[in-house]
Symmetry: C2
Subunit: 388 residues, 2 copies
DNA sequence: GACTCTTGGAGAAACGTATCTTCAGACCGG
DNA sequence: CCGGTCTGAAGATACGTTTCTCCAAGAGTC
C-alpha cells in the first residue's frame, strides 16, 4: 500500500463534509500536492497549462488554503498587533480620543494595503489572548519606561514599532511628533496674536507627550520671563477637564491665552470662558490639541494643533512591515515607509545604538479663537437666501 | 536510536537561538511532551507536583506555545472578523461615523472579555488578506441582499452574525434596532411638541437602516395625512449632507420639524437653519440620529436618537461566540448574549426557518431642540463665579 | 495469589501546508 | 552513442501542538 493510497484512504473514511484540502485538489487534478502548492503560489517550474488546470480544479472544489497550516509552516501570520499601554486600565477608553481612533484607522488601512491585518489588543488584556495569537509584529502606542510587554515582545523576536519615542524599552523603530517644536510654535503664535500671559492645561500622567509638552512650555516661560500658569488633571477622566479649565480661568493671575493639551480642552475652556464672561478671542486666546473637526463649527471656531494621526499610523505600520519583511528578506523593493528618517534604517540590530526614529511634522490649524483680527476667509459661505 | 533521541538530536543540530518549543520543555523537565501539554493546559491526570514542576521549567525557559500550531491542531484561532460591506468602496470611511466606531470598540472589548481578539477587515479588501487569516467567525455590519462574502463564509462553515437584519443572505444570527418603532417614536415626539409638518433628511443607499426608516416615515405620513417632505443624499459623502439640509429648508413647503437620519445632520441642519434665520426650537424642531455627544453642547443642544451601538456590538459578538463555542460543544454555561430573543437560539440549523434575531431598543435623548418649552434641568450647571 | 481499578504518564498520529531533495525523461552537442 | 543540462513533477519531511490510545505499576478485593 503506497503512502498516497493510505492517505486518500484515511481521508475518505473520515470524510464528514470537511472543507477540501490541498490533498483533495491534488487527487482531483491527478497531480501531487507539491504541484498544487507550486501552481497556486506561483512557484516551482510548471508549464502554464498545468498551473491553470490546477487552479481550475481548486476553484471547482472551493479550495481555501488553511491559514493556520500556512502560518505554522512559513512562520508568518499576516497579523499585526496594535496596543496601547498607558491611559488607565480600562481596555478601550483610549479610542474615545479622536487621535487614537484616527491613528488606529490609518494603521488598519495601511496594514491591509500591504496584505496584513491588524488586531487591537490592549496591553491589559488577558494574557491568554496575547499568547493565543500569532503576531508578526506589534505597534505600541506610547510605551511607558521599562514596559514589560514591549520588552518581552522584543526579546521573543517580534518586531515592535512604537508611536511615541520610547523611554527606555528596546523597540525596532519609533515614530513621533516633535512635541517641543509644536508647543513652541503655538506659544509664538499666541504671542504674536498679542498674548501677554499664556496658560497651559496639561495632564498628570507621565507619558512622553505630556511630559515633553509641559517641559517645552516651562522652558519657554523661563526663556521669555513669564511666570508659568498651568493646571493639571488626569487626562483620562472626562469630567476632570472641565473642572481644571475652570480652575485655570479662576486664578488670580488669569492667563489671557491658553493652550490645552487634550482634545476636549477646547470645549471645556470655551464653556469656562463663557461662565466667566470672557469673550474669545477678544479677552482670551484659545488653542487646543485635537483631531476633531467640531472645532471648526464652534462659536467661535477654535484653533487646533493636529498631530497628524493618520500619517503617524501609516508610517508606524509601514516601518513595522518593513522590519517584518526585512527580517528574512533583504530590501524587497516594496513600498516603504516615508518620513524624515533620523537614522538609517537598521532593523533589529543586536548591537548598541538607538533604534531608528522618525519625526513627523504637526499642523496648526489657525481659526478665529487665536487671532485678534478675524482670519481671512478661505472659503466663501453657502448662499444665504435669508439675507446676511 | 529512539525517536526521542532522534528528535532531540535534530533539534540540537539545527539550534539557532530559536524559541523554546514544547519539546525543549519536555526534555528539560524529564517528561514527555504529552505531560507538558497536559500540565500546562490543566488536562490529563497528573499530580499537582508534576504540574507545578513542568510549569516552572516552562517559565524558566520562557516557553510560549505556538499559536499557529495550536490553531492548526484545535481548529480554533481565537480570532473574530469584523467587516462592513455597504457604504462606499473606501476601506475605512465607515469608522468615521461614531456609530461604527463605538460599535467596533464595544465589539472588540466584548470579544477580548471572552478570550477572542477582533480583526477589522473591510469586505472590499484584498482577497488574499481574507484567506490568509484563520477566522473562527465573522461579524458583518449591514450586509446587503445576496452578499457574496456572507454567502461564502456561511457556506464554508464560518459562523456569521450580522448587525442589521440581513436581507437575503444566510446568517447564523442577527441583531438590529427596531427602526420603524424608533422613527414612529420620534415623529410622535415631534408632533407632541407642536410640529405640523415634519421633514426627513435621508440617504440614497439601499441598506436596511435607510430603507426601513424612510418607509416608516412615509407610512406615518400616509396615516396622519401629511404630505411627505424629505430630501435624500449619499450618506457617505460628508459634504452632501449640508447641501441636502439646505435644500430641505429652502423648499416652499418648508417643514417646521426635521428628523435627520445620519450623524452629521444635526450640525448641518442647525447651520442651515441659521442661514435661513430660523430659530431652534421656536421656528424649527430638530432631531437627528447620532451617537456623538457634541449635540449636548451645541447651541441649542440637539435631541438625538441613539441606536445603542455599544449594546449592539456587545450582543453581536456574544451571539457569535456562543455560536462558535456551540458548534462543537453543547451549552457550556458561560456568559451568554442577552437581549430580547425573537427566536430560540438554534445555531447553524441546516434546515429552513429564519435565523434567530434580536431586537435592541433605541434611546431618544431629548434636548432643547425638540421642545417648545425648555426641558427640565436634570443637571445643575457648575458654579458661575462670573454671575449668571 | 489472580483479578480488577486507578493513577501517572509515554507513543504516535494527526492538523494542512511549504519546500528541500530527488528523479525520470527530453533534448542537445559532439 | 554518450554525458550533460533542462523541464516537469513526485516524495518526504518539518512546522509545534493536541489528543487518542495504550501501558506499567501499585492498590484494593475476593
Amino acid at each position: 500500500m503506497t503512502a498516497a493510497a493510505n492517505q486518500s484512504g484515511r481521508r475518505s473514511t473520515s470524510r464528514r463534509l470537511e472543507r477540501a484540502g490541498i490533498r483533495d485538489v491534488a487527487a482531483a487534478a491527478g497531480v501531487s500536492i507539491t504541484t498544487v502548492s507550486d501552481a497556486l503560489n506561483g512557484k516551482g517550474r510548471l508549464p502554464e497549462e498545468t498551473r491553470s488546470r490546477v487552479r481550475e480544479v481548486a476553484e471547482r472544489l472551493g479550495y481555501r488554503p488553511s491559514a493556520a497550516a500556512r502560518t505554522l509552516r512559513t512562520g508568518r501570520s499576516g497579523l499585526i498587533g496594535l496596543t496601547v499601554t498607558t491611559y488607565g486600565e480600562e481596555p478601550f477608553t483610549f479610542t474615545e480620543f479622536a487621535y487614537f481612533a484616527e491613528m488606529a484607522r490609518a494603521a488598519t488601512s495601511a496594514a491591509l494595503g500591504r496584505g496584513f491585518a491588524l488586531v487591537v489588543l490592549p496591553a491589559s488584556s488577558r494574557h491568554d489572548v496575547w499568547s493565543n495569537i500569532a503576531l508578526d509584529g506589534t505597534v505600541v502606542i506610547d510605551p511607558p519606561d521599562q514596559d514589560p510587554l514591549v520588552t518581552e515582545l522584543y526579546r521573543s523576536g517580534v518586531p515592535v514599532v512604537s508611536d511615541g519615542k520610547p523611554g527606555n524599552c528596546p523597540v525596532t523603530a519609533w515614530v513621533d511628533n516633535d512635541h517641543e517644536a509644536a508647543v513652541l510654535d503655538i506659544l509664538d503664535h499666541l504671542s504674536e496674536a498679542g498674548a501677554r500671559r499664556i496658560g497651559l492645561l496639561t495632564g498628570t500622567s507621565t507619558d512622553t507627550y505630556t511630559r515633553l509638552s509641559t517641559e517645552a512650555y516651562l522652558g519657554w516661560c523661563r526663556r521669555v520671563g513669564q511666570e508659568p500658569v498651568y493646571e493639571t488633571y488626569p487626562a483620562h477622566d472626562p469630567a476632570a477637564g472641565a473642572v481644571a479649565a475652570d480652575r485655570l480661568l479662576a486664578r488670580p493671575d488669569r492667563p489671557d491665552a491658553v493652550y490645552g493639551l487634550f482634545d476636549p480642552n477646547g470645549t471645556d475652556l470655551l464653556a469656562a470662558a463663557r461662565r466667566y464672561g470672557l469673550r474669545v478671542p477678544e479677552d482670551l486666546l484659545l488653542v487646543c490639541c485635537s483631531e476633531s473637526d467640531v472645532y471648526a463649527g464652534t462659536e467661535p471656531p477654535i484653533t487646533t494643533l493636529s498631530l497628524k494621526p493618520r500619517k503617524i499610523g501609516t508610517t508606524v505600520v509601514n516601518l513595522l512591515i518593513d522590519a517584518i519583511e526585512g527580517v528574512d528578506a533583504g530590501s524587497s523593493g516594496g513600498q516603504r515607509a516615508e518620513g524624515a528618517r533620523l537614522f538609517p534604517p537598521r532593523f533589529r540590530t543586536a548591537g548598541t545604538g538607538p533604534p531608528p526614529g522618525t519625526l513627523m511634522p504637526t499642523e496648526l490649524i489657525v481659526r478665529a479663537s487665536s487671532q485678534r483680527r478675524s482670519p481671512r476667509r478661505t472659503v466663501s459661505p453657502p448662499r444665504s437666501p435669508g439675507g446676511g
